[in-house]
C-alpha cells in the first residue's frame, strides 16, 4: 500500500471516519428503533454499493438493474425458509446458486457484446424475474412471502450482522482490487484491446466479474429477507437499482469508500420521506432522480472518485475477429 501523506485533506477524512465510527457504535446502544433501521438500510446499500462498484466501477460492465441479483438472493432465502422449511444457511446457498446461474447468462451476453447490449440483456432478464415474482403463486404473487417466526432476530443482532456484511464487502472489494484479479478487471475496463492482445481471455474475466458481484449482492439480499421477515417482488424494483447506482456515483465510482460517502444520500432520503406527507412521496423520488442527474452531468466520477468514469465501449467480437485476421495474414 502506498504510504498515506498526512495532509489536511486526509485529516478531514480521518475525522469524518472517526465520527462515523463513533456514531455507528452508539446506534445499537442508545439509538431509537427508527435510527437503527436507517442504519441497517445504510449498511445494506453500502454492501450493495461495493458489489456494484466491483462490476461497474472496476470492471466497467455498467449494471443498470443490479436489484436483480439482490432480489434473487432475497427470494432464495425466503423461499427456502417459508416454503421448504429449511434453515438460513441453505437459503443463503440457494440464493447464491441461483444468482450464479443468472450471472452466468448475463455474463455470457455481456462478455460478447458492448455495454448497450449488456444493459438490455440485464433489463430483459430482470423483467422476467420481476414479473414472475409478482405473479407466481409460489412466491406469493403480489402479497409476497413472509418468513416463519422462528428465524426472527433481535434488532441489535440484525444491526451487527448488517454492519459486518458492509465491512466484509468493503474489505472484499479492496482485497480483489489489490489482487491480480482486480488488476485484470481494471485493465479490461481501461484498455480491452491491449489486454486482449496480451493474451487475456476477455470473456472469462468478464463473466467472473459478474459472478463475484452477483454473489455479493445475493448475500445482502438474503440478509434483507431475514431482516424484514417478509417481502414481495418490489425487491426487484428499479428504485433499488437506481439507489445503488446513486450511492456509488455520488460517493465515488470505483473508490473503496465511495458507497460509504454516498450512503449519506440514503439517510437524507429516508428523513425527507419521513418528513413529507404521503401525497408528496412521488416528489421525493423526483428530487432523488434530479440529484442523480445533476451529479452524473457535473461530476460523473463522484465525490471520492478520481478518474472520469468512462469504460471503453468495446465489441469483443470485433477484437476477436481482428486477432483471427491477424493470425491468418
Amino acid at each position: 500500500m502506498r504510504s498515506v501523506k498526512w495532509t489536511k485533506r486526509n485529516s478531514i477524512y480521518l475525522a469524518v471516519l472517526l465520527a462515523l465510527a463513533a456514531f455507528l457504535i452508539y446506534l445499537p446502544i442508545g439509538g431509537s428503533r427508527r435510527n437503527i433501521n436507517i442504519g441497517i438500510l445504510v449498511f445494506i446499500y453500502i454492501a450493495l454499493g461495493q458489489s456494484w462498484n466491483l462490476l461497474s466501477g472496476m470492471s466497467g460492465l455498467f449494471s443498470i438493474a443490479h436489484a436483480l441479483f439482490y432480489g434473487i438472493g432475497a427470494y432464495g432465502m425466503s423461499l427456502m425458509l417459508a416454503r421448504a422449511g429449511s434453515n438460513p444457511l441453505v437459503g443463503l446457498l440457494v440464493g447464491i446458486g441461483a444468482n450464479l446461474l443468472v450471472a452466468l447468462i448475463v455474463g455470457m451476453v455481456g462478455s460478447k457484446l458492448s455495454g448497450l447490449y449488456f444493459t438490455m440483456a440485464l433489463i430483459g432478464i430482470h423483467s422476467i424475474f420481476y414479473t414472475l415474482a409478482g405473479q407466481l403463486t409460489i412466491t406469493g404473487g403480489w402479497l409476497g412471502i413472509s418468513l416463519p417466526r422462528e428465524w426472527q432476530l433481535t434488532r441489535k443482532e440484525l444491526y451487527i450482522i448488517a454492519l459486518a456484511i458492509a465491512v466484509f464487502m468493503t474489505v472484499l472489494f479492496q482485497v480483489i482490487r489489490s489482487s491480480r484479479i482486480g488488476t485484470m478487471f481494471v485493465a479490461l475496463k481501461e484498455n480491452p484491446q491491449l489486454a486482449a492482445s496480451l493474451g487475456s481471455d476477455i470473456r472469462k474475466w468478464r463473466i467472473l466479474a459478474v459472478l463475484i458481484s452477483a454473489t455479493m449482492a445475493s448475500v445482502v439480499g438474503s440478509f434483507y429477507a431475514i431482516y424484514m421477515m417478509a417481502h414481495n417482488a418490489e425487491v426487484f424494483n428499479g428504485t433499488v437499482s437506481l439507489r445503488i447506482m446513486m450511492v456509488c456515483m455520488v460517493g465515488g465510482v470505483g473508490h473503496i469508500f465511495g458507497p460509504w460517502v454516498g450512503s449519506a444520500l440514503i439517510i437524507m432520503d429516508e428523513y425527507i420521506r419521513g418528513a413529507m406527507p404521503t401525497e408528496f412521496a412521488s416528489l421525493s423520488v423526483v428530487i432523488y432522480a434530479l440529484v442523480l442527474i445533476v451529479m452524473a452531468l457535473l461530476r460523473p466520477q463522484g465525490i471520492m472518485g478520481s478518474k472520469i468514469f468512462q469504460p471503453k465501449e468495446v465489441d469483443v467480437r470485433a477484437i476477436e475477429n481482428l486477432d483471427a485476421r491477424e493470425k491468418t495474414e
Binding site: 430483459g124 423483467s127 452524473a296 452531468l297
Partner: protein, 306 residues
C-alpha cells in the same frame, strides 16, 4: 401491462380454432404497426444519433396523458390538443438533447435518462394520479366473418404508422436535409467541412424523432388505457423489437414490430396474458445470445446506420 380498451379479444367461449388464430394474427399485425413506429423512432435515436434514450417509454406515456387531459378534463378541441402535444414533444426533445443527452459517454446517458424516466413517471403519478385513464371510444369494427374482425381505428393507426415511416425514410433518402442527417451521423467533422452545421442537424433529427413519438402517443391514446407505468412495458417491447431488427435499421424495426405484434397477440390469445411478458423477455434474451446484431443484419454489419 398495457390494457387495450378497444381490441381485447374475448376469451370467453371462443375455442382456440383456426379463425381465432387468424384473428389474433390480423390484430397482431395492426397492433404491430404502432410497435413498429415507436420502435423505429427509438432505433433511429439509438442507432443513428447514438443516443441511448431510456426515458423513451416515459415520454410516450406522458404524451398520452397530455393527449387525454386537455380533451377529457378541460374540453379542448382535438386540433389544438394535437398541436400542443407536438409542440411539447419538440421542446422536450430539445431540452433532453441539451441536458441529459449532452455527455458523449453512453453509460452516463443511460443513467441520466433513467433518472429522467423516474422523474417523468413520478410527476405523472403526482399530477395525474395512478388511476388508469382512457377515452372509452367505441370501436367501429369491420367484420370479415363472424369471428374475424378488425377495428377501424386500428386500421387507421396502422396505415398512418406505415405512412409516417415510409415518409421519414424517403425524407432521409431523397431530400438534402435528410442527406445531411445521414452524413452527419456517419462523419460529423467532415460534414462540418462541407458546410453542414452538425449540431443543428442533430437537433433537427432528434426533434423529428420526437414528433414521431408524439404522433404515436396520440394514436396510442385512442386505443389504450394509460397509467404511469404504461411506458416501461412499451419501452421493453421497443428494445426487443429494435435488437431483433438490428439497431439503426428502420424498415427492419417496422417489420420486426409487426412480427412481435403477431407473436404477442398469439401468446396472449393462446397462453393468456399471465405469462406473456416473461415469455417475451425470455425470447429477447435468447435473441441476444444467439443473434445480437439483429435477425436482419449479417454479423459483420454491426449497428449499421441508416
Amino acid at each position: 401491462m398495457p390494457r387495450c380498451s378497444s381490441c381485447c379479444i374475448e376469451r370467453g367461449d371462443v375455442l382456440v380454432t383456426l379463425t381465432a388464430i387468424i384473428s389474433y394474427i390480423v390484430n397482431g399485425i395492426l397492433m404491430g404497426g404502432l410497435y413498429g413506429l415507436t420502435s423505429a423512432a427509438w432505433s433511429f435515436q439509438c442507432g443513428a444519433l447514438k443516443f441511448a434514450n431510456f426515458a423513451y417509454g416515459a415520454c410516450i406515456m406522458f404524451t398520452m396523458y397530455l393527449t387525454y387531459w386537455p380533451i377529457a378534463m378541460w374540453g379542448w378541441p382535438l386540433p389544438l390538443t394535437i398541436v400542443f402535444v407536438l409542440a411539447f414533444n419538440v421542446v422536450l426533445g430539445w431540452v433532453m438533447r441539451k441536458t441529459v443527452l449532452r455527455p458523449n459517454n453512453r453509460n452516463t446517458q443511460i443513467l441520466c435518462t433513467m433518472g429522467l424516466q423516474l422523474i417523468i413517471i413520478n410527476l405523472a403519478n403526482f399530477f395525474f394520479t395512478s388511476y388508469p385513464r382512457d377515452f372509452g371510444l367505441l370501436e367501429k369494427r369491420f367484420y370479415f366473418t363472424e369471428n374475424i374482425s378488425i377495428g377501424l381505428t386500428q386500421l387507421f393507426c396502422f396505415v398512418l404508422s406505415g405512412a409516417i415511416l415510409i415518409g421519414f425514410q424517403l425524407f432521409l433518402n431523397k431530400t438534402w436535409t435528410g442527406r445531411a442527417i445521414r452524413a452527419v451521423v456517419q462523419n460529423r467533422d467532415v460534414a462540418s467541412l462541407m458546410g453542414v452545421k452538425s449540431e443543428r442537424i442533430l437537433d433537427l433529427a432528434f426533434s423529428i424523432s420526437y414528433i414521431m413519438i408524439a404522433i404515436a402517443g396520440i394514436m396510442l391514446m385512442t386505443m389504450f388505457t394509460v397509467d404511469p407505468n404504461f411506458g416501461t412495458t412499451w419501452q421493453s417491447y421497443a428494445f426487443i423489437i429494435c435488437i431483433s431488427a438490428g439497431i439503426g435499421n428502420l424498415y427492419g424495426a417496422f417489420l420486426s414490430g409487426l412480427i412481435i405484434g403477431v407473436v404477442s397477440s398469439l401468446i396472449k390469445g393462446i397462453v393468456g396474458p399471465f405469462y406473456h411478458d416473461p415469455i417475451l423477455y425470455a425470447m429477447f434474451v435468447i435473441i441476444l445470445l444467439l443473434r445480437p446484431y439483429g435477425i436482419f443484419n449479417k454479423a459483420e454489419n454491426v449497428a449499421r446506420t441508416i
